[in-house]
Point group: C2
């Protein structure tokens, strides 16, 4: 339970990750520059760079302009050094991507999930589609590190299970990690969708996502991912960033936990669509062109967001109301964590990025810390709509290559 010690082999692995991270963040950098960037000696930098070149993770990519003496060789990451598969599992569909070490998407596919009541069939279907997609990309199988799964929470991280996920009715405890491992024959990692999205931003975002940030993820539900000092917060039970139970001004909605002041029930696409009819009548829904059925939530949400973007007043009103509640929760989270950046992303954000960023920005910048000491920057995902699936693939790459505390020490028994 207390902190574990460290030793030389761990230090070697850690410093290798530090140097790879510095090269990835810089894009192109010389050995000489790496020493001050990492705080390591030139001798250590040379040795590690040799190992990274041999492993095919970086390449010599040219020379810096001469500054009098010998021209410095520049190092860059090799995109084809490693690959990973990412799966974003949502009640509506699974999005599958194959990405390279740089985070670029080589191939992607959306698989509609129909037989949602049977987790085994869902896994079989998704694994088969992932296999076909990977074959099509012709990546070197020896460099394909594994499959990352982004799933709605809650999850039991130790057991690798999702546990009674509210968005997958009928699912109890489902051992997704083991099931995907068996179905893909590859190493598998799993985390909740918002945390995975934050890992993707950290992995791919370079300098723009160094340090600390709160990632707010809008999908079927709402969630958050937390990065503090370049380290992803997983939490005691692997459920850090559960955002739906943040307290907001109460209305007439009841959360599955019994509360009337939980954020979750007020800001899901289904909830905001219901608000539209409740506040502006059926006529507004018809005018905007909403089907209004439970099955059409996914499609209706897109229609509603497009209407809001072109300025339709009723659509803007309900989306702004939801955005203000998200802002209330974000204000508390930012004050608690003291992060200077909030990133918004997820499939359900499409078309309403501007309204969301505006409301969240206003809310998080009211506190005394924000006004007297530092503003909080509110930004859109650098990855965009596929942040869940790309983040899931990053889970594998980040877990293997990002310099983390766990590489150096492990908690003692």
């Amino acid at each position: 339970m207390t902190q574990g010690g460290t030793n030389l082999p761990r230090v070697g692995g850690y410093n290798q990750a530090v140097i790879l991270d510095a090269i990835r963040t810089a894009g192109q950098v010389s050995r000489v520059e790496l020493a001050p960037l990492t705080g390591l000696t030139s001798q250590t930098v040379s040795n590690v760079v040799r190992r990274l070149l041999a492993a095919g993770l970086i390449t010599e990519s040219g020379h810096a302009p001469s500054s009098g003496g010998k021209r410095r060789t520049l190092l860059s990451p090799r995109a084809d050094g490693a690959f990973a598969v990412g799966v974003q599992l949502d009640p509506d569909a699974a999005v599958i991507v194959v990405v390279d070490l740089s985070g670029e998407v080589l191939a992607s596919r959306r698989v509609r999930l129909t037989d949602l009541g049977d987790p085994a069939r869902v896994v079989a279907r998704v694994a088969a589609a992932a296999r076909r997609l990977t074959a099509r990309t012709r990546v070197d199988p020896a460099r394909l590190l594994g499959t990352g799964i982004a799933t709605p929470g809650p999850i039991d991280g130790t057991a690798g299970e999702v546990v009674l996920p509210p968005n997958f009715p009928g699912w109890g405890r489902v051992p997704l990690l083991e099931m995907f491992g068996a179905a893909t024959g590859m190493p598998v990692a799993m985390d909740n969708d918002a945390t995975v999205a934050a890992i993707g931003e950290r992995w791919i975002g370079g300098r723009a996502r160094a340090g600390s940030f709160l990632f707010i993820y809008l999908g079927t539900g709402i969630g958050a991912g937390i990065v503090l000092n370049n380290t992803v917060l997983h939490g005691d039970s692997s459920n850090a960033g559960e955002f739906g139970h943040m307290t907001v001004e109460p209305g007439d909605r009841t959360c599955h936990c019994g509360g009337t002041n939980c954020l979750g029930p007020y800001v899901s696409p289904a909830a905001v669509l219901a608000d539209l009819t409740a506040r502006h009548g059926r006529s507004a829904a018809e005018r905007i062109g909403l089907a209004g059925t439970d099955e059409a939530v996914h499609a209706d949400w897109k229609v509603l967001c497009r209407a809001a973007r072109r300025g339709e007043p009723a659509a803007r009103d309900v989306i702004r109301t939801a955005a203000a509640r998200i802002g209330q929760a974000a204000r508390g989270a930012v004050a608690l964590l003291d992060v200077d950046r909030v990133v918004l992303g997820g499939e359900a954000l499409r078309g309403i990025e501007a309204i969301m960023c505006e409301e969240v920005d206003a809310a998080v910048n009211t506190t005394s810390v924000a006004r007297a000491i530092r503003r909080v920057s509110v930004e859109r995902s650098v990855i965009g709509e596929a942040v869940g699936a790309v983040g899931a693939a990053s889970l594998i790459l980040h877990g293997r290559y990002a310099p983390g505390w766990r590489m150096l020490t492990q908690p003692s028994p």
Copy 2:
């Protein structure tokens, strides 16, 4: 901005901290047991133990019962290995303590602050009192490491300044770190009161405070301290744990940030005392024996808490209402951070620990994660009322001896 690397000297310092931490946590432990506890080799353990003995930080404290072979020598921390001064600065008074390495209070004093408008006089007064108190304890000056200051936020950690603290009217940017350094002639560290209290719990609480927890601090204002995986969260601007801007159900109070749904304005002693008169009339205030003036807030709060403890209905009502709002904020914070323990403490908690724990416990254990995966334990401070001042002293001891990420690596420029 990316992660820095590590090297052998850093590893040596870190492993020494790990072993001291393991000995402190265990209380008494043999060299043989330390290897599996820390994940270090017996050779490393032997070398580090020799250094810790020579530094006077631990002692050989007896022998384990024989289990056949040679009896094992047991190691214990030396309470007199190091000392620190702690100062808790509140608008009402400063509490000063001298503590030893084990966290035991050797001497303490409360200094009423009268000329609050003049920070220089406050510092001079407190520093003089600290000097007299330290002289009285006759601790070895060579082992007195410094003075820790717990101050209401917000603070500018980089500059060592408090910045427009709402509870110190008239204070702008006050460079407390520099002022106390000059006045005491000792190394000084400073952090906000709730974070400092959490550090104290972590430093002194042993196994009971290993891992992760959220500390909720009730003083003149409300604040939180956050410990994640044995590491204190300071935040990007050293203001992590600002709890007063967590959103709660709105009422008729306006926060200095303009919000009507910020926790802070509803749960300070002054606010709860005002609630009593508003909800139960002047007669209730008189019956309980409250003076009802601005100057008497500190004394009235104690009277109100005593009344609540003996079951006075109006007193219980307003305190339970405040506790429920704290519970709302705690639920969101616990879900966000995914910690399995909440600790309540601070001077203003005296007498109402039971009501507070009950309401917070009910609130944080409603979420799906709490119900399906793990309960959240809600506990009182192991240090008690002086947690702010003792925590301030721990800031010095913890900063010097606790094994932390910063010992191993430093962020690159």
